[in-house]
Symmetry: C2
Subunit: 415 residues, 2 copies
């Protein structure tokens, strides 16, 4: 089998051309879903797809599929993709790179005159960023996790219309049937890492074979508000000190269970006056791990330690779970296929999990799925400073095209 | 020397009568300085003082002095007092008890037909609570710590007049000269504890021989804001975790240096989003100790530990001192005199320091000063639930009257 190489200059100029739409003064991108700017981005992508000889399908939720036909049009489709919308202060790579990397894969296959057995499709998922409504909607509707009528019934206080009208305004309320999941062989998503792991290690490719699972907790501690002067330490019931101890346990539990993550991102103190011992605090805690058993053990340890700290300090504890997301291994043979393509680039790579959520995390519940990461500068994303290097973009696209080709030629068995 | 006893029923009914002025639905008191209600309280007190045979003086800052003459009118005056104003959601005891306890002392000396060598005065200090302008103003002006013209120049956004007009409206912009400090022997303030120490120990009298000194710090920690999912623990610069460690050091330093206090009453987290590692926090820290050397050592330890924690965690530390109040020992021979009177009651007592600020803390810089505490229920004050027991009020007044008598008869040498 030949090893295909993508065209770095073409991929980069395609990325930069699309990044013009909504470009911010400091080089970021503001191209929220349902806006005129994102309609332009969708149009531009479709025109490129047409030039590349693809068929174009838009389904009833605005998801765009472009298809490069295979020798056997009835063979299960090999699918890749991501999204074109951005956060209001986003960048030119998050999502876009996965879509245009897929387009570059098709263009490179065309250049090389390679015909694959199965068709290859690149999908643009609607409203991944969820600046309005909620994130990762296109894949949620497609997989059936979110019924279409529920999605259309949603409202968002930032706008006075629903998703159906929003798609119609852009001209992307399509009439193509939703792609039959039974006719899809696998899904691969190419993306910037949005974290610092690859960059810090000097690695160019992440072979992503799992998602983190996640417990999001809401905590409230109630003690006794009192004057900070005349109240001796032994009689205090200081909610701030209780929160501090629990926060450090979140950190310790994560550090004891690497590669776990532990975060307390939100905190409020009452009455929040320097001369008063806090009688109450509210805060969030977040524990993540890619391994279900490990995560369950962390959850149990956290609940026990929060209870024992608050018992010891005479604080009342209210602990509720805001969200629980199960850890989800991706498809290992598909990840092995990505690793094989990564090896062929002769660049440093690692197998890793994704810390952030992606459409791939929805799709992985139903289909063989894996992801490919490249580094982004300083691990920064969802930020106008988000950046990726042109040569890294090319190497990631190389891994994608060769994995797509292998999959479309039946060289990957998903078990 | 005879031991004088005060009249519990008279003292209690006097307290309850004055507490009618501004009484709230749940039994607290709302009688802010410069209001018509507090004018009524001043008037009522003056009428009682007149009935008790006292001369009444109102100085140019509205401080009221009532004098029970001594055999030797030129002997340095023995002074006690406190204040009649309350917080908007205050109680019937904070301040008022010290004033009416002094009045009860005079009444009891009258009943017993005791003539003291030196005159005895009870002072009502203007605007101790500082709900408007600032706290402890009457004693600050009297001692010269706050020049009269500066006090009169102050404005407060809650009202459209200054203090001079406020006093004039109440009829308490007096023309008596400010009492000559050189003609005052000592100052004693009787007060509810405003903390739980006596109540928890089952003690009735606090012989207060010192104030706490106090360091108030403002801290800001700057780390790196990042996505809570894809950012591994070892590369994080999490300002929330830095704050948590420093807060627990505040607690530990205080606990290692009892009877020190350590508090972080105020905290703000940025951007305060559950899915983002906090890049910045602002918080207060408060360390108190009655001993100057101990407090200085705590200050040094705190600064070192804050620096070493932030250095270790890669956080930028900004630490500034918002306020520093030196610890101030009260006059020990005067406190010994109070202890002698406490012993005579045969009730449990302790020597202690005051955690809260009082007019006595200003006056102690210039004159032999000490305080007498009685318990308040659950240590609660500055609250409509503030409460003291009638028999405790009587015992505190017993200690006051016998100390005043000893002092006014030259039995206390202040060194």
């Amino acid at each position: 089998m030949t090893n295909i190489e993508t065209n770095q200059d073409r991929l980069w100029s395609t990325l930069m051309d699309l990044g013009q739409l909504g470009e911010t003064e400091i080089g970021g991108c503001n191209r929220v879903e349902f806006t005129a700017l994102n309609k332009q981005a969708r149009d531009l992508f479709c025109s490129w797809a047409k030039d590349a000889g693809c068929e174009i399908f838009v389904d009833g939720f605005g998801n765009i599929r472009i298809r490069r036909q295979g020798k056997n049009p009835d063979a299960p489709v090999v699918m890749c993709g991501s999204h074109l919308d951005t956060q209001p202060t986003g960048g030119k790579f998050d999502g876009i790179y996965g879509v245009l990397g897929g387009l570059e894969a098709i263009r490179s296959l065309n250049d090389a005159g390679v015909e694959t057995d199965a068709p290859i499709e690149v999908v643009v998922w609607t409203n991944e960023e969820g600046y309005m409504f909620q994130p990762m909607m296109g894949s949620a509707v497609w997989t059936g996790m979110l019924p279409l009528e529920d999605a259309f019934a949603m409202r968002d206080e930032k706008i006075d219309f629903g998703i159906c009208e929003g798609l119609d305004r852009m001209g992307y309320l399509g009439d193509a049937p939703f792609m039959d999941r039974a006719k899809v062989a696998c899904y691969i998503e190419l993306h910037i890492e949005q974290g610092p792991v690859l960059g810090n290690a000097g690695e160019i490719i992440g072979v992503v074979d799992a998602t983190q699972g996640q417990h999001w907790y809401d905590l409230e501690l109630t003690g006794v508000e009192a004057h900070a002067g005349p109240t001796p330490m032994p009689v205090r019931k200081d909610a701030m000190m209780g929160m501090s101890r629990i926060a450090l346990e979140v950190k310790r539990i994560a550090e004891d269970n690497m590669p776990a993550c532990g975060t307390c991102g939100f905190a409020e103190v009452f009455p929040n006056s320097r001369n008063t011992i806090p009688g109450r605090v509210k805060f969030s805690a977040d524990l993540r791990h890619p391994n279900p058993k490990k995560l369950a053990a962390m959850d149990m340890e956290f609940r026990e330690v929060a209870k024992s700290i608050t018992d010891e300090m005479g604080l009342k504890l209210s602990l509720s779970e805001f969200t629980f997301i199960k850890p989800l291994p991706f498809n290992q043979p598909l990840a092995d296929g990505i690793e094989k393509a990564a090896l062929a680039t002769q660049k440093p790579y690692r197998r890793m999990f994704t810390g952030a959520g992606h459409d791939a995390c929805n799709i992985a519940r139903f289909l063989p799925t894996a992801m490919i990461f490249i580094p982004c500068r300083d691990g920064i994303s969802h930020n106008e400073l988000e950046w990726a290097e042109a040569d890294h973009c090319k190497i990631g696209a190389d891994v994608l095209v060769n994995t797509l080709m292998a999959a479309a030629n039946g060289q990957i068995t998903y078990e």
